[in-house]
Amino acid sequence: SQQGEEDPQALSIQEGENATMNCSYKTSINNLQWYRQNSGRGLVHLILIRSNEREKHSGRLRVTLDTSKKSSSLLITASRAADTASYFCATEGISSGSARQLTFGSGTQLTVLP
């Protein structure tokens, strides 16, 4: 079952614009991660934010986490055509203990038009 739900399901923007994707989840978490998937390929880890953190940056990526609302957002600034991909949030639930299991959302398909 999918723990997270991304919003929007699809997003189309012009190159140079910022892209914001949101993720909501249901249960308490240890951390939340964002992954990217190019069409027909495996997933690539982008950034991890722990439950005691509120914001994190990595290059053009900015992630926020609001545990009271059980939600996160991923902001990609100054988007490029190469950013076109599906973006998934994944949560590591507290209940997974030492097993380190991730539950993925359904993803946001981002298209950056040149």
């Binding site: 999918q2 390929r41 495996g42 997933l43 880890h45 991890l48 097993a99 380190r100 299991q101 993925f104």
Partner: protein, 114 residues
């Protein structure tokens, strides 16, 4: 840079046939995961190994799916017999293990059952 290897990349089979997928994780990674990803959805965990032991196979349809990691290195996922609903991308991921939250994914095997 070390990568997770998977083969084959693509597999077409007829229903009721047997299929097998192979995964070689990053060297030294103790934890190995098999996921199934249906088109348009996020990956769902099928089975998790810690070294050669199964940590969680609660989502593995055991009447037709089996997975092994005999020497705690590479792993095989088998489906017998394949059904039309098994058409999906099968992803393998690995992580260092205890204390390592990030998972590294292979390119996946896309299965089409006719």
């Amino acid at each position: 840079e070390a990568e997770v290897a998977q083969s084959p990349r693509y597999k077409i089979t007829e229903k009721s046939q047997a299929v097998a997928f192979w995964c070689d994780p990053i060297s030294g990674h103790a934890t190995l995961y098999w996921y199934r990803q249906i088109l348009g959805q996020g990956p769902e965990l099928l089975v998790q190994f810690q070294d050669e032991s199964v940590v969680d196979d609660s989502q593995l349809p055991k009447d037709r799916f089996s997975a092994e990691r005999l020497k705690g290195v590479d792993s095989t996922l088998k489906i017998q017999p394949a059904e039309l609903g098994d058409s999906a991308m099968y992803l393998c991921a690995s992580s260092l293990g205890v204390g390592q939250e990030t998972q590294y994914f292979g390119p996946g095997t896309r299965l089409l059952v006719l």
